[in-house]
Amino acid sequence: MDINEALKIEHSYEAGQYDVAVVGAGHAGCEAAHACAAMGLNTILFTLHLDSLANLPCNPSIGGTAKGQIVREVDALGGVMGKVADECLIQMRMLNRTKGPAVHSPRAQMDRTKYSVAMKKLLEDTDNLDIRQAHVTALLASDEGDGKYEVTGVMTESKAVYRAKAVVICSGTYMESRTIRGEVIIESGPDGLPRSVGLSKSLSELGIPVLRFKTGTPVRVNANTIDFSQMQVQEGETDCPPFSFDNEMQGKGVPSEQTPCYSVWTSPETREVIFDNMDRSPLYSGVIKGTGPRYCPSIEDKFVKFQDKTRHQIFIEPMGNNTKEMYLQGFSTSLPEDVQVQMVHSLPGLENAVIQRSAYAIEYDLIEPTTLKSSLESKIVAGLFTAGQINGSSGYEEAAGQGIVAGINAGRYVQGKDAIIIDRSQGYIGVLVDDLVTKGTNEPYRMMTSRAEYRLFLRYDNADKRLTPVGYEAGLISEERYEAFKRKYEAVASEYDRLTKTFTGPTPQLVQILESVDQVPPSSGVSMAELIRRPGVTYDMLAPVDKDRPQLTSDITREVETDIKYEGYLKLEEEKINKFTKLEKKVLPSDIDYSKITGLRLEARQKLDKMKPVSLGQASRISGVSPADITVLLVYLESLKGGADVSGN
């Protein structure tokens, strides 16, 4: 439906005119709206309920493996998630400290209510941004012929028509959603919030394929009714850097007072209760049709799929400092409420626990992400961008990462500038977007470090090095921050240089240091850099034998240390990135007629024709396109250069 048709509807009215309209104020929508506004575009952000803006309807935590890196990347680009998280965290830990620098991942527990309020305030204080509680029921677009459209605005349930040059839809799990607890199905959004009705139909009417996924959340119980004495306590770590580089560069740390989490194991009774009631599980009875996330399975799924494991670990996490609500991580279920009570009571220490919110599964509509470009703009509707769960992802961080990409590119679309694409070698965000738009997904997509080919480069500590220049180019990084960023990396470079040029002999002090980590002393003079490369030796450890070292903050020394210690591996990674970039730079012209290239297998032809990849690199990641097909394309591209015709004509 176009604007003019919309305005003919009874009681409809023109409510405003914007550069960008963002639909949905979850973690994707907040980033997108903030980015557009910060780029100076007149922006409006719609939310179904203002009190649930930036809601954390599932786990009250931000970060984790790969996800923590994404939060840092969003911050490096000039996003807001990291800053708000720093303000609202009640516990922080660095995961995987012993598993190598690439996978160190910050994770923090949030005060859920505080997070929502803080984000709302931050956005309210953002220039060029209007926030509006409204239920958007239709996307308005003009028909450009040939199955293509162009965005013109949105319409709300109350028949308000907003004109917009670009629209970013971040509908989360709200589109046509329904929650499921055993036999009980309720048409509702998550957390008892209203759902979005009509929007997905208007997308599908424009020819955008609509899919359906499922996810779920566990129960919340009252802490006063839990016996924590038999549980394992998980304390926070005060030596973690904050999420935001701004905060880190200003020397701000994380709070010294932190709230603990707890963990327990399921009991034999838990298993019994679940198996006794399996016939009432909508997952197994076929009530739920949406595809659920493999990486965040419900507890009944875990027992069924991992029969060899007789017990599973459950984490008990606080929902905030001003509430007694505790979240049972790893205990999500769609079994009926009465079974949920039995299940909770089967856990050691929760025999008398009182449930405050029940667990549920939720089904929702999303769009086929392979209909998107790498800018997250629709290939079907010009000016339409989507981000977050509507693109098939799961997780707050994944949503925020897409939100900022969609926001930046919606802004650049309005400004008439080329899209900014983050590629797979630049960040997890690049991996995420590329996976979604190139491969698609048949379950809610969760980011994992193993999805990144160049993991050693995509570290949490150097996210600013990778992406702050991109954020600066987009206009999201202030001059002041950019200068500070440049100073930081000048310091990293000069300290690196100094360490390679500072030598020490096998002094008794050095011998002692090396012996403490089972290293043999050097026979002659050796540079600090060479020492750091040795297993077990750290930058800090060498202070006594490196007397002239400058006073540097830990963010700088940490990066120098990693650069030195893993230099050989980083070089290997760099070579791989160069190979990757070579293929990414082999551009496939958009007017290629794949049906004319003989040698391509039929399946490859169809996939390539449908996906229209922009580069040979992207083509190689499309499922159904084999290495042999890529060889054919390579030959074809060469022939284009040479002027020869291998197309068979």
Binding site: T65, V103, Q313, T449
Partner: protein, 466 residues
Amino acid sequence: MEPFCALSTPSGVSGIAVIRASGEGVSLKADKAVKILRTTGERTDAALSSLGGYESCYARFIDPETNTTIDDVVVTVFKAPHSYTGEDMIEISCHGGQAVRQEILRVLYALGIRPALPGEFTKTAFINGKMDLTEAEAVMNVISADSARALEASNTQLMGKLKERITQAEDKLYGALSSIEMMIEFPEHDDTPENTKRIEDILKGVREEYMRLAQSFGRGRLLTERMKIAILGLPNSGKSTLLNFLAGFDRAIVTDVPGTTRDTLEFNTEIEGIPVTFVDTAGIRETEDSIEAMGVKLAIGAANEADLVLYLIAPEAPLENIKETVSGLDASKVCVLFSKSDAGQNPLKEQIEAELVAQGVTGFASVSVKEETNTDIIGKFVKQAYEKAGGLNASDITVLSSRHADLLKSACGKLDEALAILRDDLGVDVCSQVIRSALDDSGLITGRVVSDELVENIFSRFCIGK
């Protein structure tokens, strides 16, 4: 792809020859030249293009320009994708004379079926997904293999056995990787498999397997690249005579003047079914003649590269020179032939044997080429050396290309490194990265990983017609 054609049988004289053509509508293009006399379906009036896949016909191949008959042929039709290349194909079996073959090809060119590029048939098959890269490489080896054993080994690879072995090893590496990734992705869970011991075992096992395969290259090389046998000895010890005997014709100039042979001479033959190259060398001796000096250098070089050195000792040869020469060689590869046994025995024979046994030489025999006494011993020595190099059992998995061996060795190096990383506790993330690089190496063998330079390189080595 526009149709192309080439002779698919060797270019020498033979009873019949096969010409292949591939490409869309190839039988339609050939219609004008093929006058069918009878088809497998007992039809007599059909056009070639009306024949179905796997159907053959007996036909008269004519030059449509002049309407003259070139040859009586049998043509077999293949329909895409059920053909070697995956495209429409025809195979023309004609008589083996050179004139006939050339005339048929000329007519096909004139009908718009162009000459094939080197390796184009197999490259097309690869591109059409009819075979993977290892199979394509094996085809090349089948074509160049000119002994029964080599063919067998190539066929083993052609059947994808090498790929199967590598894929099995790769699966194990993926298993190790997933254990590592579980530890990384779900760190808060105490029930994730934190058993680096199991990972270490996998890495060691796969490393061994890759090394075994890489080391089989020595054998594989003997099958396709031929076993090299150097014939060495002091001037006038009968080297060229032996070579001429083995070759069956006068290859080298044989005179009684010491130092007649100035260059190394080579020829290929088969001994006990083993493909060998004999290398005759200039006599080993200190010389003031500069051309001959160069020949001596070549001789030592050839001997060092050889898989077997036949060291000839004439009846009049002095002990000193012999000891010195053998000490510069790998004694385990040396077999000593006391030559010219018809002209008498070397008086120092026992002393020489004792000295050389001390140096590590194990094979000794007296022969007379002139009288063909005990010449069979040469075959025995060749077979022994071949077996020692592990050259038997061609049905074993054998790595036939140095590219494969190099990639496997590179992967081994990376697995060693991954093990060192685990030992030094450098981080499982780095370990995982290094394992992935090892997988990239093996993926280049199985074709799972694509590299443009590689593909071109492999197919450019093919001869035309395959």
